[in-house]
């Protein structure tokens, strides 16, 4: 009998040790959001951030001077919303003046001052400390303080995205805490382990393998958040993420994968799907240089008409429907649908196998031996497609590419590998076609790195190089008037030259518990607006 009692007690205790147990009750569940993420932020210090997870946490801890408005317009001085700076103005075409909000405080109670901004710009602009940001801020000539709350930023020349560069790229750090830390030791400093920011949430704790906890900053100068606690919970497996949400362990997941799960979530009364257009585009990148000798052109893909034929041989809307459902659209050129340089009057090229075959024939590619594969000088038109198995969407698109291009007599050989191996092959230019995906910045100026001759030694791994495109983009970046027409012209040339088959502009699907209201997931920083959400405790 005592043994039976003991067994009953243990079983009862185990099944009762649910989230409502004594330990868990200490936290207000309704005002806590548990977000499942693939990886946890380990160093959410703006100068050290390279990945999205650290950036997401940094966005909650560290404010920018201003943030992009809902239109995500990066050119000009309009459309930005105040953050650390309550206002800004121009002294002349090269000088921006920011007036800091005197209410802004670091989480240790110290005021945010112009000195902090000047100090942080110094870190960001030093190529030895942060080469990526130094490159992006190369047009900033000087940053100075005028008193406690005024910052003067001068640029080397005029361009429409001065305000964007001054605000989006830099998140000020507390000079009084960081200026004594040698920059190369910042990553291993106490500050990196327990960052002190100025944003709506305060660093609480990091259990590196489990979760990151941030608490609402009660004295946040733009209004205390309704969500009291944010917990980022780590689970890299998509199935586990779904289980966490369905079992009630988590309140939100980002970027639902696979998309076939979306209807399942949509049918659940306590969950809502939030669709957010993204700056991610997917494309089949054509390698225009020889794989073995980069000084030579690619024997097949250096020909723009062949590339164009491949593009026309793909029924991209149909492929997209099967891979992404309604969560994407075919873009025109390398431009996400959310970008302000998207040309609404230019539709992507339509699927046309007749024209594709004609183009191939015009370059000597016809089926001479009747094996259904076009050939020239006895060599079949055979191309290797480099694709990562870690992306279900790109795997699906690769399979369909193989099928569609077989209809125009092109043989595609899939070369599948895991993410790091795929990336390694891509960076070593070891591919004919690459199933690529890029998460772009809101600014179109980043396109220069991928699609201009300037990027040939860098990330332009397909070696697309058209001096006319370069010229148009350079003029657009420095335009004194409306830069849109110049961008449209540049994108039109890229689309016509077909350096890639642009397959999708992605819309991300998030799932969030319905007790959270005024849900705003930003395309440029998914969780950055969590401080503005509200909580309906009755749900």
């Amino acid at each position: 009998m005592p043994r039976n009692l003991l067994i009953a007690a243990i079983t009862g205790a185990l099944t009762c040790a649910t989230p409502s147990s004594a330990t868990a009750q200490a936290v207000d569940r309704a005002h806590t959001i548990v977000i499942v993420v693939g990886a946890l932020a380990s160093q959410p210090i703006p100068t050290l951030v390279h990945d999205r997870w650290n950036q997401d946490a940094a966005d909650l801890l560290f404010l920018r001077l201003a943030r992009l408005g809902p239109t995500m317009m990066t050119a000009g001085d309009k459309g930005f919303e105040p953050q650390l700076a309550k206002s800004w103005s121009r002294r002349d075409s090269l000088t921006l003046i920011f007036n800091l909000d005197p209410r802004a405080r670091w989480h240790d109670g110290q005021p945010v001052t112009a000195k902090d901004v000047v100090f942080t710009f110094g870190l960001f602009r030093d190529p030895k400390i942060d080469p990526q940001h130094a490159l992006l801020l190369r047009s900033v000539a000087s940053v100075n303080a005028e008193g406690e709350h005024r910052v003067i930023i001068r640029f080397t020349h005029y361009y429409p995205e001065q305000l964007y560069d001054a605000t989006y790229q830099v998140q000020p750090l507390p000079a009084h805490l960081v200026d004594t830390i040698p920059p190369n030791l910042l990553g291993s400093s106490d500050f990196a382990r327990h960052p002190i920011g100025n944003g709506p949430f305060v660093w609480d704790s990091l259990a590196p393998a489990e979760k990151l906890t941030l608490d609402a900053s009660p004295n946040y100068f733009l209004g205390a958040p309704a969500i009291q606690r944010v917990i980022f919970l780590k689970a890299s497996d998509p199935d586990v993420q779904v289980n966490m949400l369905l079992s009630g362990t988590a309140d939100a997941i980002e970027n639902v994968a696979p998309v076939s799960n979306i209807p399942r979530f949509a049918s659940m009364p306590n969950l809502r799907i939030v669709q957010v257009p993204s700056f991610t585009i997917g494309y089949l990148l054509f390698n225009q240089r020889d794989r073995k000798d980069r000084s030579k052109p690619h024997p097949i893909l250096s020909d723009s008409l062949v590339r164009r034929a491949l593009l026309l041989g793909l029924d991209r809307p149909a492929m997209l429907r099967s891979a992404l459902g309604a969560m994407g659209a075919v873009p025109y050129g390398p431009v996400p649908l959310i970008s302000w340089i998207r040309d609404p009057d230019s539709p992507p090229a339509r699927y046309d196998t007749t024209q594709a075959r004609a183009l191939l024939a015009s370059r000597g590619w016809t089926d001479h031996d009747g094996d259904s594969v076009v050939d020239r000088d006895g060599k079949p038109l055979e191309l290797e497609l480099n694709v990562p198995t870690t992306s279900a969407v790109r795997m699906q698109l690769a399979l369909e590419t193989q099928q569609f291009l077989s209809h125009i007599g092109v043989r595609i050989i899939l070369r599948t590998s895991d993410g790091p191996t795929w990336n390694s092959r891509r960076n070593q230019h070891d591919f004919d076609i690459d199933a690529s995906s890029s998460g772009l910045d809101p600014s179109p100026s980043g396109l220069m790195q991928s699609w201009s001759c300037l990027g040939l030694d860098g990330i332009n791994v397909g070696a697309a190089c058209d001096p006319r495109v370069d010229s148009l983009m350079e003029r657009a970046i420095a335009a004194k008037g409306n830069p849109r027409p110049l961008w449209f012209a540049a994108i039109r040339r890229i689309e016509e030259d077909a350096p890639a088959a642009f397959m999708y502009s992605l819309t991300n699907a998030f799932v969030v518990h319905r007790r959270f209201e005024h849900v705003n997931i930003r395309p440029d920083g998914w969780w950055a607006a969590l401080g503005e959400w509200t909580v309906n405790e009755k749900r």
Partner: protein, 321 residues
């Protein structure tokens, strides 16, 4: 015995040395870019890539990287994780308790309940209970643990909400060392332990059953029965003889203590070394991969060593010189 111990320890050290050299070069020569996860799909400038490569010594020739790694290892330094920017020794120390808990409970169940069932079956050899348990254990043994894990999570977590689908503890709970906290951990332990135990316990049961059936046929056991010993005493005599194959099994299962199971830790987001290794493989995080591999190698060597030692202790016929 002392000479044997010294020789065995020396052998273990040489084995570890060879394993570490092989691991270093195999891991480094595996295709893949260790910076890929760090940068994600965000375009990053060549200067930034060069800085990251320099930071982690990836711009050095392989032999230079190896000598630097050996020098650091001699000081107990396993390097810094490329993906997390933290010391590998710290990462291993953080993850070890969760794996020890999971692996320890599984081993405990395996070598208590599993052994007991094996003996119980053997004593009822070819009777109905033996056949029923035999069928159950065979089914369990043949079930892939990934399928079992997904089934258990789907049914007991998502459908019936009895056990949590993941994690070491409730995300809202704090690690305050209270009884409620301990119960919470136990609650979260149920599904990963069940997934691992059901399959591994079936193997132990079958092994023990077979060994015990043979032991019960031994002359000494027949003599014990003839002398009129109680059933329990006879079983004890037989069991000591049936223990040796299970000892070998124990040596083989011992690495479970530190690895858990890569798959099970992944399916239940269990923050142990298995998950750390899985993430390191996915991201080609060389230092972490080396650290976890070395730890596993150490435990494998230790498992063999302990098994040999147990043989020497339990079997009077075995003598080591």
């Amino acid at each position: 015995m002392t000479r044997w111990l010294v020789r065995r320890i020396a052998q273990a050290l040489v084995t570890l040395l060879i394993v570490s050299v092989l691991l270093f070069f195999i891991i480094r020569l595996t295709p893949g870019d260790p910076l890929s996860r760090l940068t994600g799909d965000r375009p990053i400038s060549p200067a930034a890539v060069a800085q990251l490569k320099h930071l982690y010594g990836l711009d050095q020739p392989l032999l230079v990287q190896f000598s630097a790694w050996v020098r650091a290892l001699a000081h107990g330094d396993l390097g810094v994780s490329i993906a997390q920017g933290r010391d590998v020794t710290t990462l291993l120390a953080e993850r070890l308790p969760a794996s020890l808990l999971l692996g320890g409970v599984v081993l405990l169940l395996n070598f208590t309940v599993g052994l007991a069932f094996g003996v119980w079956q053997a004593k009822r050899h070819n009777q109905l209970p033996d056949r029923v348990l035999g069928a159950i254990s065979l089914t369990a043994y043949a079930t892939p643990s990934f399928l079992l894990g997904l089934l258990l999570a789907g049914l007991l977590s998502v459908h019936w909400h009895i056990f949590p689908p993941c994690c070491l503890r409730d995300p809202l709970a704090t690690d305050d060392g209270s009884l409620a906290g301990a119960l919470d951990v136990l609650h979260h332990l149920v599904l990963p332990v069940a997934t691992l135990s059901i399959v591994s316990m079936a193997a132990t049961m079958r092994q023990q059953r077979g060994a015990m059936i043979e032991a019960l046929k031994l002359d000494c056991v027949r003599t014990a029965r003839a002398k009129g010993l109680t059933s329990g005493a006879v079983t004890w005599h037989a069991w000591r003889n049936a223990l040796f194959p299970v000892l070998t099994l124990f040596g083989l299962w011992l690495p479970l203590l530190v690895t858990g199971s890569v798959f099970v830790e992944s399916v239940f987001a269990w923050p142990g070394l298995g998950l750390l290794a899985y993430d390191a493989i996915s991201g080609r995080d060389y230092p972490v991969l080396m650290g976890t591999s070395l730890l596993v190698a150490l435990v494998v060597v230790l498992g063999g060593f302990l098994t040999d030692l147990a043989y020497a202790t339990l079997d009077p016929r075995v003598r080591y010189r």
